[in-house]
């Protein structure tokens, strides 16, 4: 059944690797209206199609790879596609998002989503072409790294592949597509558990458009605003995401020595400025991206993808390393092995502290790096202590101790920001459905440290409501098939003309801090109270409307994000991941970063009850029946 909405291909694939059965299935237009696509819709599908309580590495577990309506639309930053499953690392909802050509090619084959279940009795890959799919033998690919695997496959196809880490079911193995990654939550381990080495897609179909002329104009305007924006048009292209190193370090947010401290004396050596001066060959971007934040650096005589900010922090300051050349090398190694650099970096930092305290036998030591490269291989191949590290920090703490300084939430290792220097981010980390992810958290850091006008990073004023707003809009943007970097436009170009240290900024900061009671009520306006488009700040709604023909005004868009966030919460509750997991490690919640300054810890206990209330959840953190009814969340949960 095709969709009445353009922008979608209207068809979906289901592949059972146990039986070899390949079928097509429908998604209703009502679900498209409610969830848009991507991670929100994928979680709805998991709720409807996957049994509760299954082992995420069992054959019956599902891996969903899907797109949003914007994927492949030629709108800015719309090569994004999503993967979702019950995470083998956390037991909670696992989602990951990636740029590259796979999502576009999947749609060109006529499919919005592919659902993979079962387990092949030998290594296989899935080959998708126009309107059909085949399961093929992957004996010649098994054992290869992610680059060798992609090189051995169809050069013109979009691909997702795993490396040795996925094959050996490292709990935070990622999936690589070109040089990009479905990084978090162990999606690569799920592919490995199914003996699925890769999926490739190559199609010729066209993505239908409702209003071609209107879409073209909206895209032109959006592209112009991104190119003229101080962050997306200047800072990110010039310095990449590592542009933040110095700022984050000066702000005491840069994790240092397994998050013991928030400042690294040698951060300058691993900054975006140094990367640009010493290592940058050129910058690169995903398809249809005018920002081009990616870095190309030289490693071993070859031009390869450079590290992102999170990798720089977790393989730099967090293990007391100021050698950017080593970070480039390890980043490349992990990409080839197919391993999430955030979880891997955190796990190595944690192992260093465990070793220092005599709780773990390993060669890993802060400030000494001879053992790191070998350990990354040992993790991927599950050799020696690497076999323990392959399970992640939470499992290691259960075995060796140190849970109070295992830096994870819900089992997912924390991104490279110490929330004691931005307490709203701490609330986001604690409540993010997939765990300690800065993006699912709502990235309050932007409002607290990066934006031209900041909220007081140590105050809790208005933080719950602002965190919820950010979490919801990130959910909606991601579900659309769009890169989250486009959300920088929310702080539009004219705001950068306000002096961050001037009187006007001070007044706005005070108003923001006092805005909590008003912000708390904004959710009640959705969807009908915001029947507008705001193309300068949130251009997605106009572009989705022109592309699909759907009535996607701002209120509907924000509510779709809220709905997505809530259905992820419902998935977690169904899997036993409840409010008890809305916590931070003791190191961040109970230890002050600066013992002389009591404000330098995350006062989660003061924010969380209010957060639940504004979300429309009860005191146990469960969405109320009224909230679910308002959000029209219904599932045929099995």
């Amino acid at each position: 059944m095709a969709s009445k909405y353009k922008g979608y291909m209207g068809n979906n694939l289901k592949v059972n690797l146990s039986t070899g059965e390949i079928t097509e299935f429908d998604i209703t237009d009502r679900d498209r209206e409610l969830y848009i696509g991507g991670k929100g819709l994928a979680t709805k599908m998991l709720m409807d199609m996957q049994k509760a309580g299954i082992d995420p590495l069992s054959p019956e577990a599902m891996l969903i790879v899907n797109t949003g309506p914007l994927t492949g639309s030629n709108a800015p930053c719309t090569s994004r596609f999503n993967a979702a499953a019950k995470s083998p690392l956390t037991g909670a909802i696992g989602t990951a998002n990636c740029g590259g050509s796979f999502g576009i090619q999947l749609k060109k084959c006529g499919y919005d989503a592919i659902v993979i279940t079962g387990k092949a009795d030998k290594p296989v890959y899935i080959d998708i072409t126009d309107g059909k799919a085949e399961i093929k033998d992957a004996a010649h690919l098994w054992g290869k790294d992610t680059e060798e695997t992609q090189e051995a496959m169809d050069a013109k196809a979009g691909k997702i592949v795993i490396g040795p880490a996925g094959e050996n079911i490292v709990k935070y193995a990622c999936v690589i597509s070109q040089e990009r990654a479905l990084g978090r939550c162990g999606m690569g381990a799920i592919m490995g558990s199914k003996n699925l080495k890769a999926v490739q897609a190559k199609g010729t179909m066209k993505i239908p458009v409702a209003d071609a002329e209107g879409l073209k104009k909206a895209i032109q305007y959006w592209t112009k605003t991104l190119k003229e924006h101080p962050l997306t048009g200047d800072v990110l292209p010039k310095y990449g995401t590592a542009n933040m190193v110095n700022k984050i370090n000066i702000s005491n947010v840069f994790p240092t020595r397994n998050f013991k401290y928030g400042h690294f004396d040698k951060a300058e050596d691993i900054s975006g400025e140094r990367l640009a001066e010493k290592y940058l060959v050129k910058n690169m971007g995903c398809i249809s991206c005018p920002i081009r934040c990616g870095r190309v650096v030289e490693v071993g005589g070859k031009n390869v993808k450079g590290p992102e900010f999170e990798t720089v922090g977790l393989f730099g300051s967090n293990i007391l390393n100021n050698d950017l050349g080593l970070i480039n090398k390890w980043n490349r190694q992990m990409d080839l092995l197919g391993m999430d650099t955030i979880s891997a970096g955190n796990t190595i930092g944690f192992a260093m502290e465990l070793t220092e305290r005599g709780l773990l036998k390993s060669d890993l030591k802060f400030g000494q790096f001879e053992a790191v490269g070998k350990m990354l291989d040992d993790i991927a191949y599950r050799r020696g202590a690497g076999n323990d590290l392959a399970e992640g920090t939470r499992a290691m703490a259960q075995k060796f101790g140190g849970i109070e300084y295992a830096i994870q939430v819900k089992g997912l290792e924390m991104a490279s920001y110490d929330p004691r220097g931005a307490v709203g981010l701490g609330l986001g980390y604690a409540t993010a459905n997939r765990g300690a992810c800065h993006l699912n958290a709502g990235y309050m850091l932007f409002m607290e440290r990066l934006a031209p006008i900041n909220m007081d990073p140590y105050s809790i004023g208005a933080k719950p409501a602002m965190t919820i707003f950010q979490q919801n809009i990130f959910e909606a943007v991601s579900s659309s098939g769009n890169c989250l970097f486009t959300t920088y436009a929310i702080m539009a170009k004219p705001t950068f003309k306000i002096k961050p240290f001037g009187i006007l900024s001070k007044i706005i900061t005070k108003v923001l801090a006092l805005s909590g009671p008003v912000m708390d009520q904004t959710g009640k306006l959705l969807p009908w109270g915001m029947p507008i488009h705001l193309p300068l700040m949130i251009p997605q709604t106009l572009v989705i409307s022109k592309l699909t023909g759907m009535n996607m005004k701002l209120g509907h868009f924000l509510q779709a994000g809220e709905r997505g966030f809530n259905i992820e919460r419902m998935f977690n509750l169904r899997e036993g991941v409840d409010a008890k997991t809305d916590v931070l490690p003791d190191r961040l919640q109970k230890e002050c970063q600066d013992p002389k300054r009591p404000e330098t810890r995350v006062p989660l206990e003061k924010m969380l009850p209010h957060y639940y209330k504004v979300r429309g959840w009860d005191k146990a953190g469960v969405p109320t029946a009224r909230k679910l009814k308002k959000l029209k969340i219904e599932t045929t949960s099995v």
Binding site: P230, M244, G272, E273, Y443, N454, F485, P500, F501
Partner: protein, 88 residues
Amino acid sequence: MNVNEPLVKVKFYAGLRAKAGEEKIECHAAKVKDVLHILRDKYGPDFNKALNSCHIYLNHDSIAFLHGPNTKLKEGDVLHILPPTGGG
């Protein structure tokens, strides 16, 4: 510049380094606003325009949450001038 006032270090980041032609300077100043005057005089209008969109941190704290340009300085303080940043 009054040498009786505290000697402070001023550090520039990202694109501001190219505009200044250097990564850091030292100067004597009693308050942040005195440093801003020194920088405007030293580097000219292009630098000054960029300066207006920068965050200024005194050691590890944004002056926006201290006393803004009237924040007092003491010997050995480091003033960080940071152009807009973003990533994630």
